[in-house]
């Protein structure tokens, strides 16, 4: 996520990316994006491998904000079962420190950095009202309840902000950081960089030699209870 930024950091050994699929089950057993990293162009490899190396130091968030942001992002991304996990807050922090925004903000929202600071503070405030603890120190179920209450507001007011615009801010930054990580790609069966190699077997039910078939093809999330 922050591969183009900061000082020299580990570019990873290009060993296997950590398996993080405690909750989703391992649908692509043995699939490892990094096993193909020797076939990537050097510029892309530099950017992607930096994400499995040491995360950048926190520069933007205060310690209290870092704690709240970590709890928020872990709940939003379902990282509820401990290690290993994808550290998303360091890359969000790096973007905010560098003002690397998406290039726009809603007229009724502060600039992204300030919006993050404000909304993390509001989470702490809601959490203290609900269970007398700062958001980061609350049990996960309580954290989820506070988050769900924000989503349930839709476009209504939340501490003077449009809750839908807050939700957009959180999920955009969190999903971008998470689904940029090779561990997340392993979980969804996506092989990541494809240059200069390209693909030789496109088409329905066609696979490259390095792609792994879904072990649970009928595990349709829209079936039954999820809908």
């Amino acid at each position: 996520m922050s591969g183009r930024t900061g000082g020299p950091r580990g570019t990873g050994s290009a060993g296997a990316a950590p398996r993080i699929s405690h909750a989703t089950g391992d649908r692509f057993p043995g699939f490892d994006v990094l096993a193909q990293s020797g076939h990537w162009d050097a510029v892309t490899a530099g950017v992607v491998l930096s994400r499995v190396g040491r995360p950048p130091d926190i520069r933007f968030f205060t310690p209290a904000e870092e704690a709240a942001a970590t709890a928020l992002c872990d709940r939003l991304l379902g990282q509820d079962d401990g290690e290993p996990k994808v550290e998303v807050v360091p890359s969000i922090d790096a973007r905010l420190a560098e003002q690397q925004t998406d290039g726009w903000r809603y007229a009724d929202m502060p600039q992204d950095g300030q919006a993050w600071r404000d909304t993390l503070r509001f989470l702490d405030s809601d959490s203290r009202d609900a269970c007398s603890r700062d958001f980061a120190l609350a049990p996960a179920d309580d954290q989820r309840a506070v988050i769900q209450a924000v989503q349930d507001l839709g476009a209504k007011d939340w501490h003077g902000l449009n809750a839908a615009h807050v939700w957009s801010l959180w999920t955009r930054y969190a999903c971008t950081a998470f689904y940029a990580h090779p561990s997340a790609w392993n979980e969804i069966g996506f092989p990541g960089p494809a240059y200069p190699r390209g693909y030789k077997n496109p088409g329905v039910n066609a696979r490259e030699p390095f792609e792994v078939a879904d072990a649970a093809p009928a595990d349709d999330p829209v079936d039954g209870k999820d809908r």
């Binding site: 909750a23 950017v47 996506f190």
Partner: protein, 542 residues
């Protein structure tokens, strides 16, 4: 009849050794001094600006193209990765508002030489003849001061220069393409299968990705990262289709130059050049004529930021037309779930489209229409689609782990031009101290009906292909308008030849001059309009 190579040698000026940039051509580039009064300075080196530069350099004009972003080298600057491509987008601050605010950035704003075409998907459909007279024919939108026949020869030229691959095209003005259609991947296969079962005609193309070698540009490797900049040089962008030929004919490209204002002489009423900042140093390039090609947000912003005694409300803004009638296309994206593996990331996102719903259908409660195309989002963009369903936490992860089973289509709905959808200046300033653009957007009822109708057709296609579930995200795509061409100065900013009504040597040659947008991706039309303006200039408009 000249060959493409005789008209535009760009593809043969690129290296054939596996690298993507002709560094010698750039090092040997002609360079002008700020004090030289060049024949034309062009603001912005995207679809419109680059085409103009190449054409006029060929006619012996002394031309300089300035761009706020870098002069890209695909080998060194671009990656085969979604999040690592953030620098391709215009991410200077912008403020969005209105009843239906339109997010900017990665979706619709380019930066650097090549402009948005560096990261567009590559679809290059023509507009239909009906697009040029929607006011007369449908009672909505606006009539252009030119017709389809005026653009047709330029469409044909540009299609050869890019070049465009696709099946014979049955819609609008029926036509063929210079290259045969690409083979399709899983997503295209699903679209074709579903459309056939639903009784809808779908065709492969039109895509500006070379199918086979073209000059020294290699064939596509079907890696799927078209929206991250083509590292292969297979997908067309002006960086490789027009800029090399422009350089070879004496044009200068001055990158990393942020234009801050257009010089104006109160006495003569003419533009004198452009103010710009490069490396932190304020400079002024003198020019006999100025062409603005900064696209629909930055072009109006630059005019509004170029106020003078004669133009207190912004250059060319005598009749409050600058920044108005800006359009986006409604771009709902509908995905379908299959037990089979689709793996839509394997192949270029642009594959198959239908324009069967493009024209006004008297049986429907809306005017104009929409097109439908394959879109094939990569994981981060797909996560946005899934998160838009309200999923988060463990459920989001479960949905995402199902990625290989989804097929995804996108519509382009012809939103109508409205005066209130516009760019104004915000109080917030950028790092150059210039007010940033504020962009307000609200949909009209016709726009909203088109969105739902397009979603309905996409769901029909996907279900006909066997999808057991469909999910939709409402999005927007593309930008046009904001400084439109019109018959007179009370209804637009420029005339039929892209010359501003108010300043005789000031031109606007980008998507902002389009009065309507059809349901077509705009790149080809922007290039064709610019090529037509270039022909006018070369014929004596100087």
């Amino acid at each position: 009849m000249t060959t493409v190579r005789e008209r535009n040698e760009s593809a043969w000026l690129l290296p054939n050794d596996g690298s993507r940039t002709n560094h010698r051509l750039r090092a040997d580039m002609r360079r002008f001094a700020d004090s030289d009064t060049v024949d034309l300075v062009v603001v912005g080196c995207g679809a419109g600006g680059s085409t103009l530069l190449q054409r006029l350099a060929r006619h012996g004009w002394r031309v300089v193209g300035l761009d706020a972003g870098p002069f890209w080298d695909p080998d060194a600057d671009w990656v085969s990765d979604e999040a690592g491509s953030h620098h391709l987008y215009w991410t200077e601050p912008r403020v969005i508002s209105g009843a239906d605010p339109v997010p900017m950035g990665s979706n619709n704003s380019g930066r650097g030489v090549g402009g948005s075409m560096v990261h567009y998907a590559g679809y290059t459909p023509r507009f239909h003849p009906s697009d040029f007279a929607t006011r007369t024919n449908d009672g909505v939108g606006a009539d252009w001061p030119i017709g389809y026949q005026d653009l047709r020869p330029y469409y044909e030229d540009i299609e050869q220069e890019l070049p465009v691959a696709g099946e014979d095209w049955p819609w609008g003005d029926p036509h063929g393409y210079p290259q045969r259609p690409h083979p399709v991947g899983g997503n295209g296969e699903i679209f074709l299968r579903g459309a056939y079962a639903a009784g809808i005609t779908a065709k492969v193309g039109p895509v500006a990705i070379s199918n086979g070698r073209f000059g020294n540009r290699p064939h596509c490797v079907y890696r799927g990262f078209c929206l991250q900049g083509c590292k292969v040089n297979a997908k067309a962008s002006p960086l490789i289709t027009h800029i090399p030929d422009a350089l070879a004919h004496g044009a200068e490209i001055r990158a990393n130059a942020m234009i801050t204002g257009i010089g104006f002489d109160e006495r003569t009423g003419r533009a004198t050049g452009v103010h710009y900042i490069r490396g932190g140093v304020p400079r002024f390039q003198r020019a006999a004529a100025v062409a603005v090609a900064g696209y629909s947000i930055e072009t109006p912003r630059l005019l509004l930021n170029s106020a003078s005694r004669r133009f207190p409300d912004g250059l060319c803004n005598d009749f409050d037309q600058v920044g108005r009638y800006l359009m986006v296309q409604g771009a709902p994206q509908t995905a379908g779930r299959f037990d089979a593996e689709v793996r839509m990331y394997k192949s270029p996102p642009p594959e198959v489209s239908t324009e069967e719903f493009y024209e006004t259908d008297p049986a429907q409660p809306y005017k104009r229409g929409f097109s439908i195309q394959t879109v094939s989002p990569l994981p981060i963009t797909w996560a946005e689609h899934v998160a838009a369903q309200g999923h988060w936490g463990a459920r989001l992860r479960r949905y995402m782990s199902d990625y290989v089973h989804w097929s995804c289509l996108g519509a382009l709905c012809e939103f109508l031009a409205q005066p209130g959808n516009r760019v104004t200046l915000a109080e917030e300033k950028d790092r150059y101290g210039l007010p940033v653009a504020s962009f307000s957007y609200s949909q009209c009822d016709n726009d909203k009906r088109l969105m739902r109708a397009a979603q309905g057709v996409m769901e029909r296609i996907l279900r006909a292909a066997g999808a057991d579930e469909v999910i939709t995200i409402d999005r927007y795509a593309h930008l046009v308008g904001g400084a439109r061409m019109a018959a007179d100065e009370r209804h637009g900013v420029v005339d039929r030849d892209c010359r501003s009504f108010a300043v005789p040597n000031l031109y606007i040659t980008d998507g902002s001059v389009l009065p309507t947008q059809g349901s077509a991706n705009p790149a080809l039309t922007i290039m064709a309009v610019s090529a037509r303006a270039a022909a006018h200039l070369a014929a004596g408009g100087r």
